[in-house]
Symmetry: C2
Subunit: 547 residues, 2 copies
């Protein structure tokens, strides 16, 4: 279970890791990839070392047609993966050679084509409005035409499992038509996602025994079993598995590529990625979430920020003894890390452990720990959360330690006198934001005003305007990310607002938190913490590691 | 597969649906239940009809002690479920009767107690620092003591699967000690969540064959297989399944109660809930997310808002023919519904279908459909999203239809001249927000000023101040929820902000969307749409159904 993939393993063609993030994944609600996004996604997947990247449906979606065009024009230089064009078989009663949609697949220039074919008699008759014989002819003609043109062809047998349960012969005849005409892999698709692992594995075994074909698997997550179904199918003999990054896909989504890879590599010791690929999965998963503009799922298996995070006081203290007793794998195998969470549930042990992680040694300061635990509980009761704001927590711990050790105050970069933000929606329709801050810095009173495209942006600009001339090091600090969470939803705009601000300079990134009924004040508190953290980091050794 | 649960089924004690949302679920990062929250969660779970509700760890967590106290004092009147107190066995080298932690379990007044016991030799020796014999004695003494005091006892065998693989005899001896001393169920826990369904099912079968004990299952989601593992264990003979609502739990979480119930009830036809319970799962899942203050996962199996949502143009048109061909179950069985999504991927078909769903008949207005598709694409390219804002979409469709049919403009409740919002952080530390709006309503120019605890709240208050005297019906409209999403994270506060506003009056709730670089203007746009929607709804028949 704990062997890493041997460097010598030739991945070859024996097992296919097939990604369809750019086609089936793009059907997820809220995802809308630009062509540039699609190119970036393909490059990230290739860097991981997947075998096949399904780029889209040329001819059906203009964006996808352009993606393949630009890929062929040299914008996509794949090191590991083969690019795949997805499309459907010729229409009923036409010839493949005359079908513009089939021509678009050839024009895409993709070396591999995956055709979708209906394998459920009810879909053939009621949705496609034709008969099983013509359906098989559509598959055979189209496969033969594409293979004849030098393409490698896979066939997705849509609704296979429902169809096989309803009318096995019709379903198997579709696979036979595809493979006999030259398709390399017959992919069994649980299109409606209704399968469970034990019976799905039995069906896959049965189909392999009856046909001897090379079988692939494509699972949807409607029973929350897509990952389990994919792995069970592989254990049952499937040698081609179709997944999407982070499980993106229609309805409940598809099988998550990263969980499937993690399971195959770490539980079944399969060499699914080139040497080093597995360690990139966490980084790639998060980068792909960024491109999809979907917040990464902190609780995602293997790659989630919390996948190896421990909260309960009981665990936290035991983890000191033996981390491997509490993690199902070494997080580093997938490029993830173990985290200790500070919450009202956490005891002194986890806060001390967290302090050590942040470079604040509390071992000798029991009073500081007591005070910090009390302070964290107080703030969390008012809506603060330090789980994602290590810099604010580090400041809190340093302040309590300085207090308890009598080493005095932490450096405070400036004192606020007041600020004012004015937002105007003028009668000419223009919207302007302007902020004025009055601060005391290096012994002087400074007033500065700046405009911004929003209240927080204006306030941030005014604050920099006021401080940078007096604190030049502040010039390198910039806002990297800004997140807003409304707490206690029921209360509408009366709710408390929690703001997370991620800052960076050349050397590191750090996250601070602010909570207030007023979103601008909450943002202000987080901005102030961000600067205070930087000031403290500059004055303290060993605390300026990247977070 | 499609039979519904027979009304006559006596649930009895043959199969246990055991919920641990309030104990193991509360370990999820970000969850912090108040005692009132815990009582509300227990009532919702009971209304669903689960058999057992694990309320927490009395004696270890003050909140949990208070929860059991208030439950016993009559604040929790359970109709179906038995309340369970969770705790650990007596400490090594003590007597159960003298262990304050064990006494707290009895003092909780819960009729059922679940004890956690270590079943992995490495944990016994390295974390518990004792030997297998004393570990078994701790289990046996504590079970005997609690059973002697009239409690029903279950035992959670922690890290069972890892322990059984490492040293089966030690693991089985713990089960034996528990059952011999009077425990009803030996629960096999995949505490580190490293299992896959096929081997987990084999282990469960083997343990049942070797012991003949009543076996339960508790799965964590670290391989993304918790639901599949739980169902596979039940198929292998386990008759007690421990889950958490929405899969809340530490790290990757636990097995999601709603997916497990959906699978057992609809795929295996097991009578897991009282008649009618299954139809409540979607409602209860969302209510529990509200209490946990975690946004519901739209892509959650069975109960997610998108679990039966169809996006692809291809599907959307075929769905008109035969919905049941595209859903793995009838969504109404779990109290969910099918949705058609409007996105740039959607064709005319889905927009027309969506219009029908919203009560806007576009069948006869091809020009309106063309214009609406173009408008939706434009807006979505600028960051708008109508997937969660049906009211804004309905307005858009009505406007395009009115335009195309030449039936003129929709009623506009008012015209904005200008607004100004001033936020002051005063030198005395007080933070105040004040808004002034200048509007034209029912032919008059009105100026109104109001304060609020934040910019949007102040603006909302000023707008009502100005309009309600002239549009009395507006008095019933209130803000129910307010959500903020920062798009294009990388740009920090320069990013575009998308605001969703949920409004309600006595009769219905509706959601509108606004997008702008300035969060206040984005909120303003969503507020205006909310009022325009209400005005249009009042003037149009058949459009005021609840969303």
């Amino acid at each position: 279970m704990s062997r890493t993939i041997p460097a010598s393993t030739p991945l070859g063609d024996d097992f296919h890791v097939y990604d369809t993030t750019l086609r089936d994944g793009a059907q997820r609600e809220g995802i809308s990839y630009s062509v540039a996004d699609k190119l970036a996604v393909a490059r990230l997947l290739d860097s991981l070392g997947v075998g096949f990247i399904e780029g889209g449906w040329p001819g059906a979606l203009p964006k996808d047609t352009e993606f393949f065009h630009r890929a062929a024009a040299g914008e996509l230089d794949l090191q590991h993966a083969a690019l795949v064009a997805f499309g459907s078989t010729r229409r009923a009663g036409t010839a493949a050679v005359d079908d513009p949609q089939v021509r678009a697949l050839l024009d895409s220039g993709a070396p591999v084509v995956t055709l979708v074919a209906k394998a459920d008699r009810r879909h053939i008759e009621r949705a496609l409005r034709t008969d099983p014989a013509e359906n098989c002819a559509m598959v055979a003609d189209t496969v033969r035409h594409l293979v004849g043109a030098g393409r490698r062809v896979f066939v997705d047998a849509e609704h296979f499992f429902d169809g096989y349960a309803h009318d096995p012969d019709t379903a198997l005849r579709v696979l036979d038509a595809a493979v006999t005409a030259g398709a390399d892999v017959a992919v069994l698709c649980d299109t409606n996602g209704g399968q469970l692992p034990l019976q799905l594995a039995r069906t896959v075994e049965e189909v392999i025994a009856r046909t001897g074909f090379r079988i692939g698997i494509h699972c949807q997550d409607d029973t929350s079993c897509a990952v389990a179904n994919s792995v069970a199918a592989v254990q049952a003999g499937a040698s081609h598995v179709q997944c999407t990054a982070n499980g993106y896909g229609e309805r409940a989504g598809n099988a998550d590529l990263f969980a499937v890879l993690g399971n195959l590599a770490t539980k079944l010791d399969m060499p699914v990625l080139p040497e080093g690929g597995l360690r990139e999965t966490t980084r790639v998963a998060h980068a792909l979430a960024e491109i999809a503009n979907i917040g990464p799922d902190a609780h995602q298996a293997y790659v989630g920020q919390s996948a190896f995070a421990h909260k309960a006081g009981l665990h936290a203290s035991a983890i000191k003894v033996d981390p491997e007793l509490y993690n199902h794998i070494d997080p580093e195998r997938v490029g993830n890390g173990m985290r200790v969470l500070v919450t009202e549930m956490a005891g002194r042990a986890s806060l001390e452990l967290k302090g050590a992680e942040l470079g604040v040694d509390l071992a000798g300061s029991p009073d500081a720990i007591t005070a910090a635990v009390r302070r964290v509980k107080e703030l969390e009761a008012r809506g603060w959360s330090f789980e994602a704001a290590d810099a604010s927590l580090e400041l809190l711990l340093r302040r309590e330690k300085a207090e308890a050790d009598g080493t005095g105050q932490l450096p405070v970069p400036f004192e606020l006198e007041s600020y004012r933000v004015v937002l105007d929606h003028r009668s000419d329709g223009e919207v302007v934001a302007e902020a004025t801050v009055k601060v005391h810095v290096t012994g002087q009173r400074v007033i500065a005003t700046a405009e911004g495209n929003g209240p927080v942006n204006a306030l941030d600009a005014a604050l920099r305007e006021a401080l940078v001339p007096h604190l030049p090091w502040l010039g390198d600090v910039e806002l990297a990310d800004y997140k807003v969470r409304i707490l206690a939803d029921a209360a509408g705009t009366d709710a408390v607002t929690r703001v997370l601000v991620e800052s960076r300079d050349g050397a590191e990134e750090w996250t601070t938190v602010g909570v207030h009924g007023n979103i601008v004040e909450a943002s202000w508190l987080a901005l102030c913490d961000a600067l205070a953290y930087k000031a403290a980091a500059r004055s303290a050794v060993g605390s300026s590691r990247a977070r």
